[in-house]
């Protein structure tokens, strides 16, 4: 392969890697927020996002109702938030006692949601598009589509919004305090539960947004979204699992690496590749690529 050929391939690969990486990052942000505040790895993240995406499909395609896309998304957000509150309420009795037991309980919630999706929507494979005008243009070797721009805009808006909330608002200060030292926060009279609830709600919203944006590139079925969350988990591990900027950057790195791998090596071993990425990261950068100084809980 010539050098010019490599350059011709690599720019589009980088670009599409960054676009899908943004979505992995958004998915990972939800996981990391829940983990930072309540020390629980939320294995129901993907299943909840899948349920939300199916609700949008069901309400907007006519299979349940035929609402407009916007109101379907609003309803789905409401349902996702309600489910997030309910699942936090379920594990609330054990969340301070055992990280591991709470993590197992989230797996149970995930199974229930998975079953619910299969019961309500069946095992169908459906398409769910974004309602954005279709156009695309070229910038050098890169072709940019309206979908790419939509993903970029939404991601930037979300990251910006989260940044403002976490850095500038009282809730954000409480969130940072709880993730640094929950005991001290409780001593100071901070309500840990409300901070937990905030992060679980944020996680549900982030997961649903990521799912709605990733589904147009493939299709929607009861398994695609939960397995898409493996990319989000990998992104979170690469970022150190307790760092929000790490999760975002990790998502983009994972997106680029996956694109390179599937183009140059094999598209059939993506999950195996991600497993390798996780194991290598845990071995050589146990606290994430970015988080040398802060350190995870060992």
């Amino acid at each position: 392969m010539s050098v010019a050929g490599i350059f011709r391939d690599i720019l589009p690969l980088l670009w599409s890697g960054i676009i899908s990486g943004c979505l992995y990052g958004v998915g990972a942000l939800g996981l990391v927020m829940v983990f930072k505040s309540s020390r629980v790895v939320n294995f129901s993240h993907g299943n909840l996002a899948c349920l939300g995406a199916f609700v949008v499909y069901g309400l907007s395609s006519g299979s349940l109702l035929s609402l407009s896309w916007g109101s379907a998304v609003a309803l789905a957000l409401g349902i996702a938030c309600a489910v997030a509150v309910a699942s936090y309420a379920l594990i609330a009795p054990i969340v301070f006692k055992s990280d591991l037991a709470s993590t197992i309980a989230t797996l149970g919630v995930g199974l229930i949601l998975q079953g619910a999706v299969q019961l309500i929507f069946g095992a169908d494979i459906v398409n769910l598009d974004l309602p954005v005008p279709r156009f695309n243009f070229s910038l050098g070797a890169i072709r940019i589509s309206s979908y790419d721009l939509a993903v970029l805009v939404v991601t930037l808006a979300i990251v910006g919004g989260l940044y403002v909330i976490i850095e500038r608002t009282k809730l954000g200060v409480a969130f940072r305090a709880v993730s640094t030292n929950p005991f001290a926060c409780e001593v100071c009279g901070l309500n840990l539960r409300s901070v937990h609830l905030f992060s679980w709600l944020a996680g549900a919203v982030l997961g649903l947004v990521a799912a709605l944006l990733i589904v147009p590139t493939t299709f929607l079925s009861s398994t695609t979204v939960p397995s898409f969350m493996l990319q989000a988990f990998t992104a979170a591990v690469v970022g150190g699992f307790s760092s929000l900027p790490g999760a975002a950057v990790g998502g983009i790195l994972v997106g680029i690496a996956m694109n390179m791998f599937s183009f140059y090596v094999s598209p059939e071993f993506m999950n195996t590749f991600l497993l390798g990425v996780i194991l290598l990261t845990l071995n050589f950068f146990p606290n994430g690529l970015l988080e040398r100084a802060i350190g995870g809980r060992v």
Partner: protein
């Protein structure tokens, strides 16, 4: 402090009152005797399901062992189960050798794979390991389908060779699975009282005390996972032998989660009866609820949540509106 805790931990699993020891032993003996005699009464499908049940019980034991000794959760043990099952199938196809050789080989390979897998996260909290096992579970179908030359792809492979020629297949499957399960649960009971078992428990309960005695936490983590993966692989070899076939259909992402469900439902117990409860739950529920297929994940999820809550919440009254007396 550390020593008294250790003594406490070491007593936890052993029946304390002398009068009850015999009763407990007798009931286990009665259970084994009943299972040994069962093929005289039952046949066909029930024997087949029970053989699978024993194999799954062993897989559940491997997950429970990881939880009990290591305090870690795995949803990817289906990988090691598949490794064992495919070892038996591939050894038979390529070399024409029966399970007499491939059963120990499966355990060895499982141990090796478990070591390689657990090594990178040796210094990290169990949560990282849990995430890595999720990747393991999702990578498994790809590997099984991708290496078609060895694994037979979507169709899988058949396992036809007998261990003891001349005995009916159903009886062989049943008795060999039962024998391995009983042997492993005896070995686990012995391991619980051995110096190695106590060392591993101490590394979990009192990491600093253990470290002072030269047992590092990372060594304990890796060795527990290695042992557990070897057991899972052994269970897989039995599963393959008992069902006479291996295919990617039996090793989806959810089979790893279901093993954890079985372990949680049996309260992570390491006894024969606990293993049988867990194994029966994950084998018989899908068989007898085959019509209500989509309800199975819901049922398992509910079981997982309820058992976890009840086992960990302690006094639930604390969460009633007036009970906030902390």
């Amino acid at each position: 402090m550390a020593v008294s805790d250790l003594a406490h931990v070491s007593k936890a699993g052993v029946p304390a009152r002398a009068g009850h020891v015999d009763l407990a032993r007798l009931s286990v003996l009665a259970l084994v005797a009943a299972l040994l005699l069962l093929p005289l009464l039952a046949g066909g499908f029930l024997l087949y399901s029970l053989s699978l049940c024993f194999a799954n019980a062993l897989a559940v034991l491997s997950v429970s062992m990881l939880v009990r000794y290591g305090g870690e959760v795995s949803i990817g043990h289906s990988f090691f189960v598949a490794l064992g099952a495919y070892t038996v199938a591939i050894v038979e196809h390529r070399l024409g050798i029966s399970i007499a050789v491939s059963l120990p080989l499966a355990a060895l390979l499982g141990a090796g794979a478990g070591f390689v897998f657990a090594f990178p996260s040796r210094r990290l909290s169990g949560i990282y390991l849990a995430v890595a096992t999720m990747a393991l579970a999702l990578a498994l179908p790809e590997v099984l389908i991708g290496f078609e030359k060895f694994t037979g792809g979507f169709e899988g492979l058949y396992i036809a060779q007998d261990l003891i020629p001349g005995v009916s297949k159903a009886l062989q499957h049943y008795y060999i699975a039962l024998a391995v399960l009983v042997a492993v649960s005896l070995a686990l009971a012995h391991f619980r009282k051995s110096a190695q078992g106590l060392a591993l428990l101490m590394a979990q309960a009192q990491p600093r005390a253990a470290e002072a005695m030269g047992i590092t936490r990372s060594w304990a983590r890796v060795s527990i996972f290695t042992l557990s993966a070897a057991l899972a692989s052994l269970a897989g070899a039995l599963t393959g032998f008992a069902s006479s076939t291996v295919s990617p259909n039996s090793f989806t992402f959810f089979s790893g989660v279901f093993l954890l469900v079985g372990s949680v439902v049996s309260l992570n117990g390491l006894s024969l009866s606990a293993a049988l409860v867990g194994g029966a739950f994950i084998t018989l529920v899908p068989t007898y609820l085959a019509k209500a297929g989509d309800w199975v994940p819901v049922l398992y999820g509910v079981a997982l949540v309820v058992v976890t809550l009840v086992a960990n919440a302690g006094d639930l009254r604390r969460f009633l509106p007036r009970g906030r007396a902390r």
